[in-house]
């Protein structure tokens, strides 16, 4: 089954790269420092993240992976250079709309609301996106829960009562719930066993190759990097 999925994914990826590989996010000479005039975490990065592809961002600790994630997800803006989304400068766009609408972020710490149930967390994101859905939100949530290999009874469970791996899967489900163009995942498989890790990767590849999404994965894991279409290697900072 796994092989079959991979096979179709591969064929899809080849067609996508040739036909509709338009850039979703672009980095243009991006530099970033947390304080003005302080230590620069990213220096003059250039990269094009295209739709229909799974891209891994790898690099050692302190290479600026999380910073790059916050730039790509629109949580902050670069000190130099531009981040372009569909050709538009993110710094000038409505980044709240971008976050709620166009990008699904799976944070390393999940950032789920512990007091809410699984379904409530997912529906909260769907509500926040302001999109309309052709199915009841509860049904979509149930389908997503099934997709990330969680039992349906988890829907009404509080996040507090879930293990790390389960929370990670809920976070993935939430990122997919409002059907964003870009999926951005920070160590999405870190807390998962191998089998589930493969499931998740399969989902990501399916999203990229069959639904034309742009999937960006920040990871340490060489297996994940090996399964992705492109790898964006962040070199450790030379500057001091």
């Amino acid at each position: 089954m796994d092989t079959a999925v991979t096979a179709t994914a591969n064929t899809a990826s080849t067609t996508n790269t040739t036909t509709a590989a338009k850039p979703a996010l672009e980095l243009e000479h991006v530099s970033y420092s947390y304080t003005k005039g302080g230590k620069r975490v990213l220096i003059d990065k250039n990269y094009v993240f295209r739709t229909g592809r799974v891209i891994s961002i790898t690099g050692p600790s302190g290479a600026g992976k999380t910073t790059l994630l916050s730039l790509l997800s629109g949580l902050t803006t670069p000190t130099k250079g531009r981040v372009l989304h569909n050709g538009e400068d993110l710094a000038k766009a409505d980044r709240y709309r971008f976050r709620s609408h166009d990008i699904g972020v799976i944070f390393q710490s999940f950032n789920l609301l512990p007091a809410l149930t699984v379904a409530e967390n997912i529906i909260l994101s769907m509500d926040a996106s302001g999109k309309t859905f052709d199915q009841p939100k509860k049904e979509i949530a149930a389908e997503l829960i099934e997709k990330v290999r969680l039992q349906p009874e988890y829907l009404n469970e509080r996040i507090l009562h879930l293990s790390g791996g389960e929370q990670q899967r809920v976070a993935i489900a939430r990122a997919l719930s409002y059907d964003p163009q870009i999926i951005l995942a920070d160590e999405p498989t870190g807390n998962l066993d191998l089998a589930t890790q493969d499931d998740i990767m399969a989902i990501f590849k399916d999203l990229a190759h069959n639904e034309g999404k742009c999937v960006i994965i920040v990871t340490h894991s060489p297996e994940v990097a090996a399964q992705s279409d492109e790898v964006f290697q962040l070199a450790p900072l030379r500057e001091r």
Partner: protein, 588 residues
């Protein structure tokens, strides 16, 4: 919609904390409700207390103003009177006296002002004059009152003997000369407004009799005279007087003019009355004459007085007559507002600045509102304290609440909910909670406000009363004594009283001007303490209807909104300063 939904869900989720806030807000709201209700009720009581009850008003002369004018007039017209201008230091008593004399308003004046009013006004009036008894008709008096009435007992005995011999009342204790002598000697009280043994009072209507200065009475036999000319000569006398002289209904009595004993008036008794509230029997103390005794009051109609030539117009024109008649004219207005209008109308109609329109009812009412005003002030203080404390408590609670929910703010902004929406959600959450608290508080306050405010008012009233009584004790008076002459008295009958008596002074003794003016001036205060002059213990407003109405609820909701916004400001500032990037550091 998203914001509302989210806010509602969050409120439901944090039951414990929100119940705590609801309780705090409810307590604040209850206290505020009571405070507002009291203020509201006090305001309403002030406005409507006299709105539907009739108010009586009188026109009285402002003597100090009058004197001032007279002084100015005399100094300006220096050429006309060289003696007065040369001795500028000495007051021009003649001109002042004449000014005071002129200050008497006539019946026609009073009626003119009544017509000038733009609001409906009715009126009644009474005219009082003194008459003296004859051999067959003697006033009720006690020997002690007689003895104390003059400086030594021998003169009192001579008084009584002279009376019994019928040599005339001029030598009696009520004669102008004697009265003036007393005033001159002691500089004290004692100059009575009327001379004679009896007070013959003419009334214009039943209302006038009902408001007689001697208090209310009931007829024990016979009936009250009519007011037409047909009933001229009919009088009613007190039961005590009737018993004293062994008279009954249908008998005739003869009285004389106090200054001229040859002038006699024959009156027919058509009824005998009994005072039910003889508030001021001998209120004047030993200095009072027999005519001041309520029992020696003879009531008749103004028409009778007129036919006898004793009405105020006739006596005022008759300069040589000591027997001046005081006119006591009272306007009846339907409400306190009408009273205000009437006062301004009368001014507009040409009432001189030296006169003031007064209403004993309104003044009494004002003083009865003192505890209520105090309570309203207290309520305002309570309100302010409660609101400030409430605001601080809410701000602090909200601050802790928001800090606790920092992570939630981070998550919401990270998934793309705008900060304004997050802030709005927090405000709405707080609003839902505080509105619940206010609803509870208003309900509780509405239940509690009436008993609580009446309780508070009762304590204010008792504080006010104890203050008044301690003041009375300080001056050595029992609370119900009404005070001696010269004390603060209700002066509703002062204008005609005092001016007429001073004019009688001046006309009778032109020679001894210095002592006379002293006596006249000294006499003023005592006259104001004339019949009925006892200041009744003020009947304080002791009940207020502090019910909660829609206005109070509206005000409270506004206050609640204000408080919520103030405390929500903390949350808003917090949310607005939050950087979404912080979420990466906020690892749960």
């Amino acid at each position: 919609m998203f914001v509302l939904n989210n806010a509602w869900k969050t409120v439901i989720r944090n039951k414990g904390r929100n119940i705590l806030i609801v309780l705090i807000v409810a307590i604040i709201a209850a206290a505020a409700t009571i405070g507002l209700a009291i203020r509201n009720a006090a305001g309403t009581a002030r406005e409507t207390g006299l709105a539907n009850t009739s108010v009586t008003a009188t026109i009285s002369v402002d003597r100090s103003k009058l004197m001032e004018q007279a002084r100015e007039a005399s100094s300006s017209s220096s050429s006309s009177d060289s003696s007065s201008s040369s001795t500028d230091a000495a007051p021009d008593f003649d001109s002042m006296r004449s000014a005071l004399d002129d200050s008497n308003l006539t019946l026609a004046d009073y009626q003119k002002y009544e017509k000038a009013s733009s609001v409906p006004v009715s009126s009644y009036y009474s005219e009082s004059t003194g008459v003296s008894g004859t051999d067959s008709f003697q006033p009720v008096e006690t020997s002690t009152a007689n003895a104390a009435n003059s400086s030594d007992s021998s003169s009192s005995s001579s008084d009584s003997s002279s009376e019994s011999s019928g040599s005339g009342s001029g030598s009696g204790q009520q004669g102008p000369g004697d009265g003036q002598g007393q005033g001159g000697q002691g500089g004290g009280p004692g100059n009575m407004m009327t001379s004679g043994d009896f007070t013959l009072t003419g009334f214009s209507s039943d209302t006038a009799i009902a408001n007689a200065s001697n208090g209310t009475f009931t007829m024990s036999s016979g009936e009250v005279f009519g007011y037409g000319e047909d009933d001229n000569g009919k009088v009613i006398i007190s039961k005590t007087l009737a018993d004293f002289n062994n008279l009954s209904v249908g008998d005739t009595i003869t009285v004389t003019n106090p200054s001229d004993t040859s002038l006699t008036y024959t009156l027919t008794i058509c009824g005998i009355y009994e005072n039910t509230t003889s508030s001021n029997t001998n209120a004047m103390g030993p200095m009072g004459g027999t005519s001041q005794d309520a029992d020696n009051a003879i009531y008749t109609s103004v028409s009778t007085l007129k036919s006898l030539g004793l009405d105020s117009d006739t006596t005022a024109n008759d300069d040589n007559d000591d027997t001046t008649t005081q006119l006591n004219y009272t306007y009846v207005l339907s409400s306190a507002d009408d009273y205000e209008t009437f006062a301004s109308d009368v001014k507009a109609a040409g009432l001189d600045d030296t006169y003031t329109v007064q209403s004993a009812d309104v003044e009494q009412y004002e003083s009865s509102l003192v505890p209520l005003d105090n309570l309203a002030k207290f309520a305002l203080t309570l309100l302010i304290v409660v609101l400030v404390v409430g605001a601080v408590v809410l701000v602090v609670l909200n601050l802790f609440n928001i800090r606790e929910r920092k992570y939630e703010v981070g998550v919401l902004t990270a998934i793309g909910v705008k900060k304004t929406k997050v802030a709005a959600q927090f405000v709405i959450e707080l609003l839902i909670v505080t509105m619940c608290g206010i609803a509870l508080g208003v309900a509780g306050g509405a239940v509690a406000s009436v008993p609580v405010s009446n309780q508070l008012l009762a304590s204010q009233v008792s504080a006010q009363e104890s203050e008044a009584s301690s003041q009375q004790q300080q001056f050595g008076r029992a609370a119900d004594m009404g005070g001696g002459p010269g004390s603060e008295q209700q002066s509703d009958s002062s204008s005609s009283d005092s001016s007429s008596s001073s004019s009688s002074d001046s006309s009778s003794t032109d020679s001894n001007s210095d002592s006379d003016s002293n006596a006249g001036n000294a006499a003023q205060p005592s006259q104001q303490g004339g019949p009925g002059g006892m200041r009744q213990a003020v009947d304080y407003v002791s009940e207020i209807n502090a019910t909660v109405n829609l206005a109070v609820v509206g005000q409270l909701i506004l206050i609640g909104l204000g408080l919520t916004l103030i405390s929500a400001l903390v949350g808003i500032v917090f949310v607005m300063r939050y950087e979404p990037l912080q979420i990466l550091a906020d690892r749960s």
